[in-house]
Amino acid sequence: MDITPWEKVKLARMPLRPTGLDYINQIFENFIELHGDRRFSDDKAIVGGIAFLGELPVTVIAQQKGRNTKENIARNFAMPHPEGYRKALRLMKQAEKFHRPILCFIDTPGAFCGIGAEERGQGEAIATNLAHMMLLKTPIISFVISEGGSGGALALGVADRIYMLEHAVYSILSPEGFASILYKDASKAEQAAHHMKLTSKDLLEYEIIDGIIPEPVGGAHNDKEMVIKNVKGILEEELKNLLTQPIDQLLEKRYQKYRKIF
């Protein structure tokens, strides 16, 4: 069955799809959520904390969409403010200090655009995450579970391994934003999606991501357990591999992973 890029965009945005917390709750044990950036507030668009993967303590961070309007308003539709990215970085630095691997679940239309976000330095917050993640002395794995939109996604996406769910999309901007900039018409989003090369297959071909996690027919919501089990399997396998590598080698490979994209 062939699914067009635009259909994938719509699939990726389906409220029924498993969200960050679904993965966290079903993959890990004893998840303890830690709140706040210690600077301004606690951004509910990003959830983070510590959990066990088997016997291994790990730091998990996820962008969190709501299942309904009420939840989505509380989560700001998973569009983080600067304090969300700063919370994520605080938890990542904490992970580095205590030698915990970091696992990120990406699902955002993009970083929030608004007055407060600008006043508090949205650009600075994202930039700081990119630079610091490149040097964090602990393994990082990121999963684009549904929507990976722009710098807002990348700020949790500088990793040793990046995986996408089969029907997830990862792009420079939402197709609507892209169409609005390039075609001066947001309604040409479908055409934009076609040219943007935002599907998991495209990104694997470009070697931007390391692998694709298959979804059941119709999408991840049709068999959440299977999808989450697949994610867990990849995660365990990759962690085993990454944890045995000397940290200098890991960091050099992480740098080269992005260095070669041209």
Binding site: A111, R120, A127, L182, M196
Partner: protein
Amino acid sequence: MNKNPFKFKKYATSQIYRVRPKDIGRPDEEKPNVPEGIMTKCPNCKKIIYTKLLLKNFKQCDECGYNFKISANERFAMLLDDGDWLEYDKQLTTKDPLNFPGYADKLVKTQSQTGLVDGLVTGKGKIEGSAVMLGVMDAAFFMGSMGTAIGEKLTRLFERATEERLPVIVFTASGGARMQEGIFSLMQMAKVSGAVAKHSEAGLLYITVLTDPTTGGVTASFAMLGDIILAEPGALIGFAGPRVIEQTIGQKLPEGFQRAEFLLEHGFVDKIVPREQLKHTLGTLLKMHSYCGENQI
């Protein structure tokens, strides 16, 4: 009701043909008879400025202080001692990684129009005697948007600087990421930020100078990573552009929002420096960071 009120002459003529008494005898004022290029009109305060004077004044309006756009090459000439510098990767261009419809043609057209290969010029020279690696974005090229060519050139500049243990100064001017290169543009943010992080880890100085406009993926990567962040007066600096924010929140933005002065107020810029002071400010900062522990008071 009359369908067409304008067919009555008295409505049409009274305003349009009225001659203001003060206009009599000065018919040519609106179109001064001077050769092209001698005078320049300030887009901000509309003052007509003698172009030679404007150039002497670092392309700043002497009336309102408006900063005219400066090309990357003009910037190099303005900053580096004797205008003497070595340019890197001059011919480096994008591979059009997405094979995006119409992009290759538009690139060629823009290249011939601007005389640039892409929107960033990099090189090495001296500012007030201190050696420095300099990168200058040029907003005339695809609105200074960052694609793979800019990402690669900047990364190389930082890697060279790390190897030669030199400071880096980058002038930003960008509408954000280059849409036509899609995910590859996005990844340049991580790539350049990585190179900046390594340069920083080596204990080396990085100064950014944010010029009008600095937005999107450039703000969210190397623009905001300077040890010291300077800005030109009045420059628009932000993550999301003002139009996008207005559409998102459905309200008008306050006056001065996202201008350099606003960022200074909110703690994201160290200092706003007018153009005539830039060279000396940068030269002084470079000198302050050349201390290696051997100097005495």
